[in-house]
């Protein structure tokens, strides 16, 4: 299966980048949440800037298509907040916990076990969530340029300017 091989190779390369930029570390992750160390945001926002230009360029050429997640304000506000609470306690996220274990951080193993348990809990409470939170504020698969009625390049340039401004603040304050 080529798809499995692609997944493995891109995971390994991504893991190397995360490890060498020290993004996997608890102290960096919680350091960002405490507004003391913006390493993970420097990494993440730069990746987003580069990827947004490349993906929309290839989309304009007709080479790739988008794969959007539906916007549901109930789901993303309640789910997002819950994720944040768990992230603050664990200090790793679903993508980085495995990598943290890889660089020897044994507490990440407990986080990974918790995530598997969380998957089981989610399946058990899904009917109740579907009847409540998941039904609130659904607006479908939309992008910011669609909502604003402007070209995606306008939004990309605005986002890049915003992120560069944030980087300037990070560097000025030594974060």
């Amino acid at each position: 299966m080529m798809s499995l091989l692609y997944g493995l190779v891109s995971g390994i390369l991504f893991g190397v980048l995360l490890q060498r930029a020290e993004v996997l570390r608890y102290d960096r992750q919680v350091g960002a949440l405490r507004l003391m160390d913006m390493t993970i945001f420097k990494f993440m926002l730069t990746a987003i800037m580069v990827a947004s230009v490349g993906i929309y360029f290839l989309k304009d050429m007709g080479i790739v298509s988008l794969s959007l997640k539906a916007t549901g304000f109930g789901a993303q506000i309640v789910g997002g907040t819950l994720f944040g609470i768990g992230w603050g306690l664990l200090g790793y996220c679903p993508g980085t916990a495995g990598g943290a274990l890889g660089e020897g951080r044994l507490d990440a193993a407990w986080g990974l076990l918790g995530m598997l348990a969380g998957g089981a809990v989610y399946a058990a409470i899904y009917p109740a969530l579907k009847a409540t939170v998941l039904g609130l504020g659904n607006v479908g698969k939309v992008t910011l340029p669609q909502v604003m009625g402007v070209s995606h390049w306008v939004v990309i340039v605005a986002m890049i300017v915003l992120f560069l401004g944030a980087f300037r603040v990070f560097e000025k304050k030594g974060l």
Binding site: Y6, G15, F43, G72, G84, M115, G119, V133
Partner: protein
């Protein structure tokens, strides 16, 4: 080699990697669904009838026990291998039971740290599945596509995490 890579440079390379993944494999980065699928697979293996759970049968069993292995599982495993390989090669591999920042605040007993990590993992995956993604799927992939869902989710990931970190560590950012 022990010195960390510049986070902007590593992030830009991660952005290139995301573009290549979309162009070659047709896959956007994401991680959290793997833990729901992993839970389904484990439950099935130990004899639980997973078809009782609506979440594991919805969308043609997209999250059910038959959904693994797939691209994303190998991606998540790859990150762990990349973290292991890069840390060994650079001399930064270090077996650590309790992160420094945690130890400075709560002491170096692994018990409390592991409990927090496990509980955090549970809450975080419930939140991620409710929101429909984690900082990879909503953050990196969502923002790169300018998805409204990504901007909303990322804001609340950070908001929830910021409040939690503040409750755990108090105001002020001393290292």
């Amino acid at each position: 080699m022990k010195r960390a890579w510049n986070p902007y440079l590593a992030g830009a390379l991660a952005g290139v990697l995301m573009i290549l993944s979309v162009a070659i494999a047709g896959k956007y980065f994401g991680a959290s669904t793997t833990f729901a699928r992993g839970a389904a697979t484990i439950e099935q293996t130990v004899g639980v009838d997973t078809s009782r759970y609506e979440y594991f049968t919805t969308k043609g069993g997209k999250y059910g026990p038959g959904s693994l292995p797939n691209w994303q599982l190998l991606f998540v495993v790859g990150i762990a291998l990349g973290g292991l390989g890069a840390s060994l090669a650079s001399g930064t591999f270090e077996v650590k039971r309790v992160p420094d920042m945690w130890a400075a605040r709560f002491g170096d007993r692994p018990l409390w740290r592991n409990l927090a990590a496990f509980a955090g993992g549970i809450v975080l995956i419930i939140g991620a599945r409710l929101a429909g993604g984690c900082p990879s799927g909503h953050g990196l992939s969502g923002l790169s596509q300018l998805a409204v869902s990504g901007f909303v989710a990322l804001a609340f990931f950070f908001g929830g995490g910021w409040v939690t970190a503040r409750l755990l560590y108090g105001k002020g950012g001393e290292r």
